[in-house]
């Protein structure tokens, strides 16, 4: 069993490959914000207050274009809707924690932190004795990404995007997701959920504001439920 400190370090370590992909993205965000005509302090403030990559990209464009505040806030809300699924899926593993922990962890919840943390939580739940300090793992992964995001935003603002696109470092994010999801596909309903969500995501990729992702995820969940229900019924008949 790992101590608090070792759980924290494990979270940081597991987050590291993803940071290779996230950091160029943070730099591009900084560059994009400046080219939208915003003062340098502003994209940094957004990274600090909002801490949500895709929503930040959209919102600095809208701020630069002088869109009404209500439109910008509402758009941010829509782009971040998918976090409802993340937060709900983590919720059962966090019930034993106090409010303060959940208030802290919620701030750090991004696509990448969710992917890493939920994979570990699900894995731990299959073990005979679950680590009592899993929140420290979440905190380690979250703070690692938070630090990298703030730092890469600052580098992007100060120096521009320094990493050649040809290195294709953004691909490390997809690769990490692959490495996390494939070993977890241990039964037919999960495979069905994954395949259907993936196909729907490709079909509705033109949907703006990440709504395609929400639609794809919900389709996957429904297909997973349907396959599982059918399996259970078939087993009962036997």
């Amino acid at each position: 069993m790992l101590s608090r400190r070792l759980e924290f370090i494990a979270g940081v370590k597991d987050e590291l490959p993803i940071l290779l992909g996230v950091s160029p993205f943070g730099m591009i965000y900084g560059v994009l914000a400046l080219s939208a005509g915003l003062p340098a302090s502003l994209p940094f403030a957004v990274s600090f207050v909002v801490f949500a990559g895709s929503a930040q990209f959209v919102s600095v464009q809208l701020i630069g274009a002088g869109a009404p505040g209500i439109v910008i806030v509402f758009t941010t809300c829509i782009v971040n809707l998918r976090h409802i699924l993340y937060s709900a899926s983590l919720a059962p593993y966090l019930t034993h924690l106090g409010r303060r922990w959940r208030c802290l962890l919620a701030y750090l919840l991004t696509d990448e932190v969710y992917a890493i943390t939920i994979t570990r939580f699900v894995h731990e739940a299959t073990l005979p004795s679950r680590s009592p300090f899993l929140q420290w793992y979440f905190l380690g992964a979250g703070l690692a990404q938070w630090s990298a995001w703030q730092a890469s935003t600052a580098v992007g603002i100060a120096l521009g995007a320094q990493i050649p696109p040809g290195w294709a470092l953004d691909f490390t994010v997809a690769l990490t997701f692959i490495a996390l999801v494939v070993p977890a596909l241990t039964d037919r309903p999960s495979v069905a959920a994954a395949l259907s969500a993936g196909v729907v995501a490709v079909l509705v990729a033109d949907c703006p504001y990440k709504l395609g992702l929400v639609a794809a995820a919900i389709s996957g969940i429904l297909v997973g439920l349907a396959v599982e229900t059918q399996q259970t019924a078939a087993r009962r008949r036997r």
């Binding site: 597991d14 490959p17 502003l42 207050v49 919102s59 701020i63 630069g64 002088g66 505040g69 806030v73 809300c77 971040n80 998918r82 409802i84 699924l85 993340y86 937060s87 709900a88 899926s89 919720a91 059962p92 966090l94 409010r99 919620a106 701030y107 919840l109 696509d111 969710y114 992917a115 939920i118 040809g166 294709a168 691909f171 490390t172 997809a174 690769l175 997701f177 490495a179 996390l180 999801v181 494939v182 977890a184 596909l185 999960s190 959920a193 994954a194 395949l195 969500a197 993936g198 196909v199 995501a201 990729a205 395609g212 992702l213 995820a217 996957g220 969940i221 997973g224 439920l225 599982e228």
Partner: protein, 111 residues
């Protein structure tokens, strides 16, 4: 920029509040799902569904255009990484091989 600095400050604050609320509220309100089997059953599929929904477009839509051909380096490299993750369950190895494969394939099939 047509918004005043004060207005922009308030907009950023508003963005922060809605984002935080979306991330926090389910965590706070949905704590105990033991009593709701359908909810628990549905939540089990969130990770595979969400992750695949993030992965598939990255592999199949490079540059936003559907490309199912073997000349699509991201599709080949991602499939190889998936195979390695499946056989070895070693995340770092899968990521390293996938990245290496992408670099090699990109130099073989330049855009």
């Amino acid at each position: 920029m047509s918004n005043t600095p004060l207005a922009i400050g308030l907009i950023i604050l508003g963005m922060g509040i809605v984002t935080y609320a979306i991330r926090l509220l389910p965590m706070m309100l949905l704590g105990r799902v033991e009593g709701r089997p359908l909810m628990r059953q549905a939540l089990r599929f969130v990770p595979p569904a969400v992750l695949s929904a993030l992965i598939f477009p990255e592999l199949l839509l490079p540059g936003g255009i559907l490309d199912l051909s073997p000349g699509n380096p991201r599709l080949l490299a991602g499939t190889l990484a998936a195979f390695i993750a499946w056989r070895t369950k070693n995340a770092l190895l899968a990521i390293a091989v996938g990245m290496g494969a992408l670099w090699v394939l990109q130099s073989v099939f330049p855009h």
